[in-house]
Symmetry: C2
Subunit: 112 residues, 2 copies
Amino acid sequence: METKDAVIALSALAQASRLAVFRTLVQAGPAGLPAGKVSELTGIPPSSLSFHLKELSHAGLAAARQDGRFVIYTAQFEAMNDLVVYLTENCCGGNPCTPVCSPVCSTEKEPS
Amino acid sequence: METKDAVIALSALAQASRLAVFRTLVQAGPAGLPAGKVSELTGIPPSSLSFHLKELSHAGLAAARQDGRFVIYTAQFEAMNDLVVYLTENCCGGNPCTPVCSPVCSTEKEPS
DNA sequence: TCCATGTTTCAATGATAGTCGAAACATGGA
DNA sequence: TCCATGTTTCGACTATCATTGAAACATGGA
């Protein structure tokens, strides 16, 4: 991941409405949610929500797929994980420190 | 961590100059760096840098301590970790998924 | 006390982003 | 084909942020 991509991803999350949307999608898991449901859950009007979902998609943090009249959005866990790795890259100059496990999910539907 | 705090932290990182500063501090480890050294390493002019360091400090992602005429800045690894946890909270609705270890350091100087 | 060095504040400027109603668009079913 | 439903685009407004030189401030040493 490059700086530019990280800034785009972080900018996408650095906004109350979008952060709420992203977390809602994270909680929904790989199955995702239709845009209307996200609007309902977050209280964000459809037009605003569409703007924000576009931003999250552009940042690679969400993905859309068509399902009949619905557009299902899903969180992209790998992008999230890449971002975290980037932020802590070469931590402490490569010297040993104390890594911690963070619950960053994979995109797989079932645990392996 | 609350939404407001997360947005503040993410906003702090969602900016090319500040992201570079934060990563520089992360790489410096708990020992930190004086402001002037950060300016030198990142190429950001002192006045701009001061503005950004203030933002990072306000967000809890960096901390300042006085050392003679120098002000030493350090990355706050715990805040970083809290942020990651917040982003993935209640991931997949609590259903089992595949957690991944991310190298988020603690603030300790030596590994335990 | 006076100076050199390191850091922060100030002020002005230009640019970017969030919001949401109304209207347009897309899809599937009757 | 026509309609109902779900989603996106458009447009206009307001607000907030990044940048940087110059000046002010703080600290330690002579």
